[in-house]
């Protein structure tokens, strides 16, 4: 039995979507310029993008690069972050370096990396990897640092070796924080993906966006924005589901991704 | 409800409103508190509580955890409004917090962004007292609670006992008629706790404010109070009100050896044990 209140709560994001689309529709009708199509016009252009084979291949390639970059970052960043969290020397070794590269926009490395590695998948994947790694390192570091010392003592008393303690105590205890980092990383991967393609302008979702802009196909521009936005919302929601099942024992701290970089 | 009377009359069933004595400071009249839990279920935290507290009395509320004793204090503070019944202070129904009732919480609840002096001055400034006057008065109060020289410290730099001294000074500063103390010494170690009890008693014996004091320590309640209200759990009811007939000023060293003090402690502990059993059989 679903109460009307619970139903309203469940459908709130959907209502918000509809509300935002309505606001868009009204705004574009009020402004009434050719370069700002209405929401309905943009929605009508969505099937033509998703129906086009070339666009689909492009978007698919974008998503594949994102998935590879993100996976590599997860494999590399979580152990590094946890080690930094548990071993003081490792932390003071890496922290200043990370602080220096933190405010560098990773997608801005695109032109330089393209010089070295060409315009292919490798450059774009590398940029995504670089962009995603930092938040995951940072959150794993915080998570590893916050692990209760007494829990490790108990583990040692039970005869766990230091490597075992890392896998069987530190990793699960830090998991909620690590997953917060991964969620930020996921959003950031999408951002880096789109940006690098906007800068490299050779293929992918970001390229479709700017090609349409150059050719004054304004409804396609807005339709593509909707597709990327929907992808962001979908990936985030899917990740939340996964996280919910992985760390059921931990209270979800925030129901919205908090940090983006 | 079983009413046990020790030496003196029980106050649990207080006299009707019209016959209320002129010296009543707080009058709690058939107050109940129901909390919504998940879904449509609700939990009865307080059931039909009536209690009168005289002006200048030191009254403790004792009971097992979860008996709603803090909730009762919050109702008098005006922080929580009761589901049923009325609480009055000086004959006026309580509708919200006010500077006539000053709280002191177990968690200290000091403003972390203000230093010690700023915390104590806050209430006075809020009452429209001039800055210089408020500062002079606050310094004097801090001296009284033994914190001279700590005016510019921030709460985070103080120990738990010192924090609670600041919190007491902050509340005394705006001179409330009633002090509402919610397990104020519950988070302190035994030694600090004893010292603060002694100091509180000294301060209180000077100006005899009305004090409503929630605690789960029987010794503390007997040592400090004129009356001890013993509550039962789920739902919270007043089981008995015990008059503590011990001479004042009280000296801890003498009292601990006093057979009357010891008997009060033992008797009340028995009463509380009974309430525990009640709860199991209920």
């Amino acid at each position: 039995m679903i109460t009307p209140r619970a139903l309203l709560q469940k459908s709130a994001p959907l209502l918000a979507c509809i509300g935002l689309l309505c606001a868009w529709q009204v705004a574009s009708l009020l402004l009434n310029t050719e370069s700002f199509p209405t929401a309905l016009e943009a929605i009508r252009a969505v099937p033509s993008i998703l129906g086009d084979k070339e666009s689909l291949v492009n978007i698919g390639a974008s998503i594949r690069r994102m998935a590879i970059g993100l996976s590599l970052a997860v494999v590399f960043a979580i152990p590094l972050g946890l080690l930094m969290g548990r071993i003081k020397g490792v932390a003071s070794f890496f922290n200043p370096l990370l602080m220096v590269i933190y405010p560098v926009p990773k997608a801005a490395l695109m032109p330089i990396i393209m010089l070295w590695l060409g315009v292919g998948d490798v450059s774009k994947t590398l940029v995504i990897f670089l962009g995603v790694s930092l938040p995951i390192i940072y959150h794993s570091f915080q998570g590893g640092k916050a692990v209760e010392e007494k829990m490790l003592w108990s583990g040692a008393a039970m005869g766990l070796s230091s490597a075992q303690r890392m896998f069987r105590i530190v990793l699960p205890a830090a998991l909620p924080e690590i997953l917060t980092g991964c969620r930020t990383g996921l959003v950031l991967a999408l951002i880096t993906m789109v940006t690098s393609e906007m800068i490299a302008r050779q293929s992918g979702a970001g390229n479709i966006l700017f090609n349409a802009l150059d050719m004054a196909q304004y409804d396609t521009v807005f339709a593509m924005i909707m597709i990327i936005g929907a992808l962001g919302i979908f990936l985030d929601a899917a990740f939340e589901k996964l996280r919910g099942s992985l760390v059921r024992w931990s209270k979800p701290q925030h129901d919205i991704p908090l940090s983006f970089s | 409800m079983k009413v046990v009377t020790l030496r003196s009359d029980a106050l649990a069933e207080s006299e009707p409103l019209s016959g209320k004595p002129a010296s009543a400071m707080i009058h709690i009249d058939r107050v109940s508190q129901r909390f919504q839990t998940s879904g449509r279920q609700s939990h009865l935290a307080l059931s039909d509580i009536s209690l009168t507290i005289d002006d200048g009395a030191f009254v403790s509320i004792l009971g097992p955890s979860g008996c709603g004793k803090s909730t009762l204090l919050y109702i008098v503070g005006g922080f929580v409004s009761p589901s049923d019944g009325v609480a009055r202070v000086k004959g006026k129904a309580i509708t919200g917090p006010g500077p006539d009732r000053g709280p002191v919480f177990q968690e200290f609840a000091l403003f972390p962004w203000k230093n010690v002096l700023g915390n104590v001055m806050y209430g006075l400034r809020q009452q429209g007292v001039k800055h210089s006057e408020a500062e002079a008065k606050s310094r004097k109060l801090l001296e009284m609670v033994g914190l001279k020289g700590y005016e510019n410290f921030y709460p985070k730099e103080l120990s738990g006992g010192m924090k609670q001294r600041v919190a007491i000074a902050r509340t005394l500063a705006y001179n409330p008629a009633v002090l509402l103390m919610d397990e104020p010494f519950g988070a302190l170690d035994a030694h600090t706790r004893t010292r603060l009890q002694n100091d509180l008693l000294n301060i209180w014996e000077r100006d005899r404010k009305t004090v409503l004091f929630v605690t789960h320590s029987v010794e503390e309640a007997v040592f400090l109070s004129d009356k001890v209200v013993v509550m039962t759990r789920s739902p919270g009811r007043i089981k008995v009100v015990v008059d503590i007939d011990l001479p004042r000023p009280r000296k801890r060293a003498e009292l601990l050896l006093d057979a009357r003090y010891q008997k009060y402690v033992v008797d009340i502990e028995k009463l509380i044990d009974d309430t525990g059993e009640d709860e199991i059989h209920a």
Partner: protein, 253 residues
């Protein structure tokens, strides 16, 4: 004392190693100078340019957009976050809208902003504000909704009217969380303003990088990158100083 020195030395090591590796790649002939300029040349160029009016003009353009966008994000984020924390009605509207908007990659909106607001400052400032807004809004909201009830009660008992509780208690108590959000927002602002300038602009540090890339001036490509990294570090430490001052009473997190 010597512990801090040790820590600092340990921290400088990887940066020094990084630069040494960079230099050795060139010295040992693994990387041609045209692709990877030696670090000395890059820092020399940076030093030469730092006081030329052209370069300062580019920095000023970038900083103007950065601050304008960041300031808008701070004001909107704090106001909306506080409002959502204290009013259930506003919360019911803000929460789902934020839930939908937060995970959208804002940079994808940039073409739309260009179309609506034009190619000048406005579109870039809006993009910066849109990106920095959400972390500030969310941390304000969480900070304000987690203010300890008893702080509010203490203030009310001391005679604070309900209307003043927001400014006298909730805002200062939520300050640590708000400033954390601002720190994240500031880094994002640095990143986004640079990217926006790279995608379309006629001035600014990002534009310098793209200009240099078009003409394969590798040294000039590194200069704006290092500059934005330095700017980020300086702004971050300024904010950190402000934070240390404002939160002097709060326990360390």
């Amino acid at each position: 004392m010597s512990a801090t020195v040790n820590k600092a030395l340990l921290g400088i090591t990887p940066i020094a190693l990084f630069i040494a590796l960079w230099q050795s790649l060139i010295s040992f002939g693994y990387a041609p100078v045209t692709l990877l300029p030696p670090p000395g040349a890059v820092f020399l160029r940076l030093g030469q340019q730092l006081f030329t009016s052209d370069f300062l003009h580019e920095i000023a353009a970038t900083l103007f957009r950065l601050f304008a966008g960041f300031a808008i994000a701070v004001v909107l984020g704090v106001v909306i976050g506080l409002a959502a924390a204290i009013s259930p009605a506003i919360n019911a509207v803000v929460k789902p809208v934020v839930r939908v908007l937060a995970p959208i990659p804002k940079v994808a909106l940039y073409p739309a902003l260009l179309l609506i607001l034009g190619f000048d400052h406005a579109s870039k400032i809006t993009l910066v504000a849109a990106d920095a807004l959400f972390p500030i809004l969310l941390s304000t909201y969480y900070g304000a909704s987690m203010v300890e009830q008893k702080l509010i009660w203490s203030a009310m008992a001391a005679g604070t009217p309900r209307a003043q509780i927001l400014f006298k208690v909730v805002l200062p108590a939520a300050m640590p969380s708000i400033l954390t959000g601002c720190r994240i927002g500031l880094v994002i602002s640095c990143i986004v303003v640079f990217l926006a300038e790279m995608i379309t602009s006629t001035d600014g540090l990002g534009h310098m990088l793209v200009q240099a890339a078009r003409t394969f001036q590798t040294v000039d490509m590194f200069v704006p990158l290092i500059t934005i990294s330095m700017l980020g570090l300086i702004l971050n430490s300024l904010l950190h100083g402000l934070r240390t001052y404002l939160l002097r009473g709060f326990p360390e997190v």
